[in-house]
């Protein structure tokens, strides 16, 4: 089957569009998160989303709107991670671990108390990129626009606090505000994109393209651009490849991302040994 034929399928077109939009925004946020040692925040917030969805269902929220209902709690949790690192002087990974385990534990206990739900709670953790509908595409497009606008507007502030928070503070940058913007954008991305592409893919798209870009890029701006390119290429190869080989798309995209990371690492190694 040729690429043209594959592209003629509506579900492939939707997967490509939604996947690429989510890939770009995850990869941009990922550069800041990886450099600030908050790589696992995507995983942590996904677990909180799981708990929040369970809470919404137990409160009788219509299953169609549970993801939206989960947003406030996930955003609060992202701020909780930030406060734990700032005020309690806990390392970022430990703060993420605390909030993450609390989220998943809360979800499991609530599911048990409710005696099960009519919908599969775990489907909120593992979305399916090939099942993207028109509504999901619109959500992805709006999210893409909001996050990209915010990153563009706060780009230099985000760059400054990522380089060094003390220096940023002495440049008059409100570091607490910018940190808050960063984690809230991440929370929004995780909660809305999770149902679309699944947490495995979000977490991978937040970390792998950024790490690959760090191997090859020669400036901060180039790192962000390279991260977007790695993410987009992996989504495209992943969707076409998985379709042709009849393999799970999300997992295949993650594997392509890993291959790209290995290539980037090898390129960096060869460049160093040439010098």
């Amino acid at each position: 089957m040729g690429i043209g034929e594959i592209l003629s399928f509506g579900f492939i077109q939707r997967a490509l569009i939604a996947g690429t939009l989510i890939a770009v925004l995850c990869s941009v946020l990922g550069v800041f998160l990886v450099l600030r040692r908050l790589s696992l925040i995507g995983d942590g917030l996904a677990h909180v989303t799981f708990g929040s969805v369970a809470l919404s269902l137990i409160m009788g929220v219509n299953p169609l709107y549970v993801t939206v209902a989960a947003i406030p709690l996930v955003m609060l949790s992202s701020l909780g991670i930030l406060k734990l690192t700032e005020k309690a002087r806990i390392y970022g990974d430990a703060a993420i671990g605390i909030v993450s385990s609390l989220g998943i534990a809360g979800g499991i206990v609530l599911a048990s108390v409710a005696g099960g739900f009519n919908v599969d709670l775990f489907s909120y953790l593992f979305g399916n990129i090939l099942a993207v509908g028109n509504t999901d595409m619109i959500i992805a497009a709006i999210l893409f626009a909001v996050v990209l606008l915010a990153v563009t507007f706060f780009y230099r502030d985000l760059f400054a606090i990522t380089f060094d928070e003390d220096l940023a503070q002495c440049s008059g940058i409100r570091t607490t505000t910018i940190n808050t913007v960063l984690v809230l954008m991440t929370a929004l991305t995780v909660v809305l994109a999770m149902k679309v592409v699944g947490i495995m893919l979000i977490s991978a798209l937040l970390i792998l393209p950024a790490v690959s870009a760090l191997q090859v890029a020669r400036s901060f701006k180039a790192t962000i651009i390279a991260s977007c390119c790695f993410a987009m290429v992996s989504v495209m190869i992943g969707i076409f490849g998985s379709f042709i080989m009849n393999l799970p798309t999300g997992g295949f995209i993650v594997l392509v991302n890993f291959m790209l990371f290995l290539l980037a690492f090898a390129w960096k190694y060869m460049r160093k040994s040439r010098i």
Partner: protein, 250 residues
């Protein structure tokens, strides 16, 4: 007429139960070149950080350019070079040019874009610091001395009135150190920048600074270097040998 740029009154800083600074009071006026010296762990860096609001004070009053520290917003008037970057990641993917450009963010409105004029200012500062040839290099690939010059360039690029430098010469070789001090002296004398320099290097303080503050959790001495060297009180405090060591290294 000199204008008061920094005023610290009755500053106390504690880390948990440990007293780091007690009853610190001093004032820095425009045009001053102040050297702050003291033994390791004497609280010199903490004093600078407290003055900039990076460390919380238990009590005391700090004003910058006449405004209380918590209401001070005119950060473009201050250039700060820390002893080491608290969050520095050696793999941070930023070029020298990008780092120096960060020094121009203060006082700008969001999204704080750089103008053509800013690019020219960065260009001149790179030249002034002798780092034009490494402008495209990633900061983590540079030597300690080169990194220090890049961070100094970031601190001075905005043309600050008050330069606060914490142990800026530790990673520099003697020749670069001398060039660095002449550069600071030039910024102070020719460009009217006020300098506060925390250092172990007492020989340079004697040569360049107009004022010498010796700190050991509290201010032990505040005056000129010559006064320090000829003070009987300091001889009694340090002993003749130690005073001789501090004073005659330059």
């Amino acid at each position: 007429m000199p204008v008061e740029l920094l005023n610290i009154e009755g500053l106390w800083v504690r880390y948990n139960a440990a007293e780091v600074l007690r009853q610190i009071s001093f004032r820095v006026n425009s045009g001053d070149y102040v050297g702050i010296v003291g033994p390791n762990g004497s609280g010199k860096s903490t004093l600078i950080k407290a003055a900039l609001g990076l460390v919380g004070a238990e009590s005391g009053k700090i004003t910058l350019f006449g405004a209380p520290l918590d209401r001070f917003t005119d950060w473009r008037r201050i250039g700060y070079l820390p002893q080491r970057l608290r969050f520095f990641n050696p793999n941070f993917p930023a070029t020298v040019e990008e780092i120096v450009g960060l020094g121009l963010l203060a006082g700008r409105r969001l999204p704080r874009k750089l103008t053509l004029e800013d690019r020219q200012t960065i260009e001149k500062t790179l030249e002034l610091m002798g780092i034009t040839d490494i402008r495209k290099r990633i900061i983590g690939e540079l030597s300690g001395g080169q990194q220090q010059r890049v961070l100094l360039a970031r601190a001075v690029v905005g043309g600050p009135e008050l330069l606060i430098l914490d142990e800026p010469t530790t990673a520099l070789d003697p020749e670069t150190r001398e060039r660095f001090y002449s550069l600071l002296s030039n910024l102070n004398k020719e460009h009217g920048a006020t300098v506060i320099l925390v250092t172990h290097d007492t020989s340079s303080i004697g040569t360049y600074a107009s004022r010498f503050i010796y700190v050991d959790k509290e201010i032990i001495f505040d005056g000129t270097f010559d006064d320090f060297c000829h003070s009987e009180e300091m001889t009694n405090l340090f002993g003749e040998y130690a005073q001789h060591l501090i004073c005659h290294r330059h």
